[in-house]
Symmetry: C2
DNA sequence: CTGTTAGCGCCTTCAT
DNA sequence: ATGAAGGCGCTAACAG
């Protein structure tokens, strides 16, 4: 009762050889229907299931994907996981989870653990301070492909799934300008992130193309912590004239910024309008959500990233050796909250 | 380059036997420091890492826990995962994720997949319609323990981690009564869930002990979908006199109920006060959160459940055979939003 | 100190 | 139509 049944036991019980049992279970042509039937009956009775770990060892494949994210409990990422898990399980892959807590050292440890576990591939959104990618590069030795999504390294040698953030930022700025805003502040994210640079570029380009003067004072940074966002907001509020609109790096920054503004008795979307990135599902429940959010489709990003890595895994070896890097760039969408 | 290095290669390169290499890597006493050093150097050079799948096969343990949840993207569950992952990784366990989408059939498939994967143990919050537990009971044959948390089966033969919901409900009702409410409605959850029955019992007991008359019309149900919650709320609003307070089964039900109320021009916490269960992190950002929420500490529940399963795994076999069932009941806390 | 061997569960030639 | 044997990577007796 206490030990999982094996083909060996089945073989012994029926006085057959292990290989006969194995073949019978695989419906091999050259086993008599009679024995096949007997074998299957006993297998059912014992509740036999093949031991994957044995198959893993033999095949060198684990049918498992590793997923490394900064925080599993953040809505954006948990949506992404959901997409990953759905797509993976449809294709009979399992999903191993790890959270880096935005700490590069933990990220390295997780990569190590997943390497030892011999996952077939790894999906990752990098920690916000990760600048060195050797822990990912080392996976090549183990023939474990990596696909980055959302938070991706800023370099060509990487498989990535991202949203076209520059364009989205342009849309966001245009939206605000069309609504009469010219003093548009921007609380950007940690300077290391590619996403931060992209958004800034989009912000600058949009203002330029719309002939709106850019004020460097209006661009501030947050490391995404509430405190940093409060400080950023505080700074913006000292300016005169202050901004009439604020674009936030993401929804959490927007939440913190709006909260701070409320404390300062500023009327959300009256005194200062807000636009954010990511589009949390809770916005629909809030009385005063941002005017608009750039929807980044985390579920789809997760799906596409999974699709990409399965493609890589199923591609013929030659393709892998060529080290071509795949890039998928999704079109985000400005979602106007009504 | 394309294949992970093995001790075999290292052995060949140094003209040593496989076992010598193995022992050297494990700092065995009886290997000369010299050889140990040589072996480790080569291992480092090759970037050798032991193949866990081989160890799994040998030891029969995978150092992997399976986690099955209704929805990975729901805040409550993603918090729980976070707690699980943190605790598990501290103890060198990996976490395999699966989401049932609240569908018993998918739940069964995931159990099957995890069984084949030979996870060492499984943590589950069951799908809302799951009434039959044979797919979990079958795991006994494979000696895979199961710990249920939050959404647990209503029977003695199960390891569970839960919150003492009856008591929490009493606190919630008392809170409302102290604030002058006597017409307290309750939007309860799906009737199959143990949590639903527990909350109802707490509700009834509280009213009784506080000598507040109970009105059966005030108790309605939602299957947790927005539509069902709207209908429940709609029904409550037809009553005269209507409720002055509403207790919602969980935060999502509260969100939907409050949204519906707002649409009907009801002032939240003025015309009707709300109290909910779970305490989503977003409440702190909302202008009109419920007056209070019963905090269920999902992160801690996840942690405790993980702790419990690791205890079971590390317990001597005899203890397992006795089939004692562990129960942890956490004390929830009524969190008053200020 | 180091090598040889068997075996974890399964699949897969190669024999019979 | 079935059996025997080898091997996936590693550990752990058992020999020297």
């Amino acid at each position: 009762m206490k030990k999982a049944p094996t083909i060996k036991e089945i073989a012994r019980m029926l006085n057959l050889s292990i290989s006969t049992v194995s073949r019978a279970l695989h419906n091999s042509e050259d086993i008599s229907p009679a024995t096949t039937k007997r074998v299957k009956e006993v297998a059912d009775e014992l509740g036999y299931e093949p031991n994957q770990t044995a198959l893993f060892l033999k095949s060198g494949k684990t049918l498992t994907l590793g997923v490394i994210l900064p925080h599993l409990s953040e809505a954006f990422f948990s949506e992404a996981i959901s997409g990953i898990e759905d797509f993976a399980s449809e294709h009979n892959y399992n999903v191993l989870m790890g959270q880096s807590h935005d700490d590069t050292e933990r990220e390295k440890k997780i990569v190590e653990a997943m390497k030892n576990h011999r996952v077939d591939g790894i999906l990752v959104s990098i920690a916000k301070n990760t600048k060195d990618f050797t822990h990912f590069d080392n996976l090549k030795k183990y023939d474990i492909p990596v696909v980055f999504f959302d938070r991706v390294p800023d370099r060509k040698e990487a498989n990535t799934v991202t949203c076209k953030m520059e364009a989205a930022m342009q849309e966001a700025v245009e939206f605000l300008v069309k609504n009469g805003h010219t003093r548009i502040a921007f609380i950007n994210g940690p300077k290391d992130l590619l996403a931060t640079r992209e958004r800034l570029r989009g912000y600058e380009n949009a203002l330029k193309s719309l002939h709106v003067a850019m004020n460097n004072q209006f661009v501030v940074h947050s490391d995404l912590s509430p405190d940093a966002t409060y400080r950023a907001m505080q700074h913006l509020l000292t300016l005169k004239p202050g901004p009439s609109a604020v674009i936030a790096f993401n929804d959490y920054v927007a939440l913190d910024a709006m909260q701070y503004a409320r404390k300062m008795n500023i009327k959300i979307n009256k005194d200062i309008s807000f636009v954010s990135f990511a589009n949390l599902p809770v916005w629909s429940y809030m009385e005063n959500p941002p005017l608009a959010s750039v929807e980044q489709f985390p579920y789809r990003q997760g799906q596409r990233a999974t699709e990409m890595i399965l493609d890589i895994l199923n591609a013929p070896r030659t393709a892998k050796q060529h080290e071509k890097f795949n890039k998928i760039i999704l079109e985000p969408r400005l979602f106007i909250h009504t």
